[in-house]
Amino acid sequence: MQLIEHHPILQYQHGKKVKFIFDGQEMEGFEGEPIAAALHANGVRILSYTEKYKRPRGFFCAIGKCSSCFVVVNGIPNVRSCITPLEEGMVIETQRGHGTFHKEVQDGEH
């Protein structure tokens, strides 16, 4: 993870280290920190490809306002990765377009 090791002012208090899957690859992050921060620390900058022009997208505002940071989390698309806390074992995928309804998700809550 690309973390700031020394800072003249700040001392970082990270939570528990957890494992998650991004596009089939196992990665590590800290529980409770935003998914986007964990992905960025693992070198992931592209969170989605847009619907029309298939352009790569990352986050922009990182405070849940701009809706630029959508990813697919545990099969659910359009999850704002910048304000959604990371959990152990999450399966995260790059979102393509507006996202697709997975059968099992469609039958459930969303």
Partner: protein
């Protein structure tokens, strides 16, 4: 859910509104979108300006901690919902619908509402502006200051307002290289001292330039910038800048959707950076049950957001009959006095004009005798010098800050040199001075004045100044001068170590030797004593630790 007051947004304004209202016994619910309270304060590693009576000299992160603690101490009266967005206001039912973490949906029926929803980073149209790696300044701060994630290797900053300048400094503190700052205007928009801090560390500011293009196909690999003329047309050669992050700090827009939904009368006020509601002197909008505070009412500093929050909270309590008329009026008058002081400086002229456009005095106002947005007394001299406009003190102004040589040359311990040429609301240099050498301010926007005969060279001001604009220089040794300068980088130098000495433009002009390292206020600003050639004493303003090994 029912409550006296619903505060939407748990940043500096919202928290102060909640605390104030609850201090009069109001039941308060706070909803906030993020994972912790404090809003943008939790990312601010720099010390705040303003009055020492409030939080001047305290870092934003520390203010967030103090306010959050106070909220927690009032658990009986204040309920907090984090990761919760107020998504809609329904006027007929006077209901606010909220969504918690996309998993729970509930409605709140408050008697009164304070909207303190803050702001959103502005976007800028240029080719490739949606590439991954084009980040808002707030996002970069969140990554590095809240979660300790390296945002990139080399950053190009767009915008030299306070946010662009502060985030540049913070990037340097996190060990990230900053390629430069691109600014459309012919001068920096933020505090001059913030610009001076990063110029002396070698970051260039490209005035009258814009970004044309973000380079790269998957993510940012560089940027093209070009100069613009007075009409905003490009001219001259395009410059290619290598960078992997382009950080946008081109201003904020007030987050105003709920105010529109509630039917508050809104105005577009460029000075306040967007659509803002009309309000009276108590921060009440044209909707009788809705108040506004902080950036949602117009983009300004966190210090004034906190006072606006207090005003709104006080007024809510008054409208609910929890405060008697005379204490209400007294307190309101005091808060306005503070607000006026914060808005008295030369950079706040814009705010004063903007607020005047949307401030509608209430019927009660005539009995209160408050001076709204009083103009600061100090005359502002507009300096056109190219260096000055980008945060470098020009050669010709150095004399005006030089101590009287006769006293200086024999004063053991040295004398203070303050490089603070812009009227901003700030007083820690005076309040930290134990000998009275830095004279009291009539108005906190005044420039510091020094009685050199009283200066002991103790350097407490060096450690306290939020702008890192105080230095102490001792000329009493034969060959070398000793400079005591502020230092907030990693790593700290060791005593006896040789360090690079940088001038106001960040050029290495000498190798100096560290003779002492102090941390007088135990707040991580250290004062480094370094010996330098005497003739460079009025040029060297920063040090850089040379790579070990």
């Amino acid at each position: 859910m029912n409550t006296d007051l619903l505060v939407i947004g748990g940043g500096p304004a919202g928290l102060c509104a909640a605390l104030e209202a609850s201090s009069f016994g109001c039941k308060v619910v706070i909803v906030d979108e993020s994972l912790s309270l404090g809003g943008q304060l939790i990312k601010q590693t720099h010390k705040f300006f303003g009055s020492s009576k409030e939080f001047a000299g305290t870092r934003g992160i520390e203010i967030a901690r103090l306010l959050t603690q106070e909220i927690m101490n009032k658990k009986d009266n204040i309920e907090v919902f984090l990761n919760t967005t107020a998504v809609g206001y329904y006027a007929d039912e006077k209901t606010v619908t909220c969504m918690k973490s996309e998993q729970d949906f509930f409605s709140v029926n408050p008697k009164k509402i304070v909207i303190a929803t803050g702001a959103l980073e502005k976007l800028l149209p240029f080719v490739g502006n949606d590439l991954p790696g084009v980040y808002g300044a707030g996002a970069v701060q969140t990554l590095m200051n809240v979660y300790g994630v390296v945002p990139g290797k080399r950053v190009l900053m767009i915008g030299a307002g306070n946010i662009g300048l502060i985030v540049t400094y913070q990037l340097l503190q996190a060990g990230v290289d900053v390629a430069g700052i691109v600014e459309y205007a012919p001068r920096i928009g933020g505090y001059w001292v913030h610009a001076a801090k990063i110029r002396r560390l070698g970051v260039p500011i490209y005035l009258r330039h814009t970004i044309k293009k973000a380079l790269g196909s998957s993510w940012v690999e560089g940027a093209i910038i070009q100069a613009v003329n007075e009409k905003g047309e490009w001219y001259g050669e395009e410059k290619r800048i290598d960078c992997d992050v382009i950080c946008l700090a081109v201003g904020l827009s007030p987050t105003c959707e709920l105010l529109w939904q509630a039917g508050c009368e809104m105005n577009y006020v460029p000075e306040l950076s967007g659509y803002v509601p009309k309000r009276d002197e108590t921060m009440r909008t044209t909707h009788p049950d809705i108040w506004v505070a902080g950036d949602a009412s117009g983009i300004e500093e966190a210090s004034s957001a906190m006072i606006e929050g207090k005003i709104a909270g006080l007024s809510v309590a008054h409208s609910l009959g929890r405060v008697d008329d005379s204490s209400f009026k007294n307190k309101l008058g005091e808060y306005w006095q503070e607000l006026d002081l914060l808005r008295g400086g030369e950079t706040a002229a814009k705010i004063r004009n903007g607020v005047k456009k949307v401030l509608v005095k209430s019927s009660e106002d005539s009995s209160m005798n408050i001076q709204y947005c009083a103009q600061s007394k100090s005359q502002v001299q507009v300096i056109q010098d190219q260096d000055f406009c980008s945060g470098v003190l020009p050669e010709k102004m150095v004399e005006s800050i030089t101590p009287p040589l006769e006293l200086w040359s024999r004063k053991k311990g040295g004398l203070v040199v303050i490089e603070c040429p812009q009227s901003i609301p700030c007083d820690p240099c005076h309040t930290s001075c134990p000998t009275g050498a830095i004279l009291p301010f009539k108005n906190i926007n005044d420039l510091p004045k020094i009685d050199y005969s009283k200066c002991s060279g103790c350097a407490l001001c060096v450690a306290s100044c939020p702008g890192l604009a105080c230095f102490v220089i001792d000329l009493t040794e034969d060959e070398k001068a000793a400079i005591k300068l502020p230092y907030e980088m990693f790593p700290r130098p060791n005593i006896g170590e040789e360090v690079e000495c940088l001038n106001r433009k960040g050029e290495v002009v000498a190798i100096g030797k560290v003779i002492r390292v102090q941390e007088p206020r135990k707040d991580k600003t250290v004062v480094v004593h370094v010996t330098v050639p005497k003739e460079l004493a009025m040029q060297i303003r920063a040090i850089r630790v040379m790579k070990h090994g």
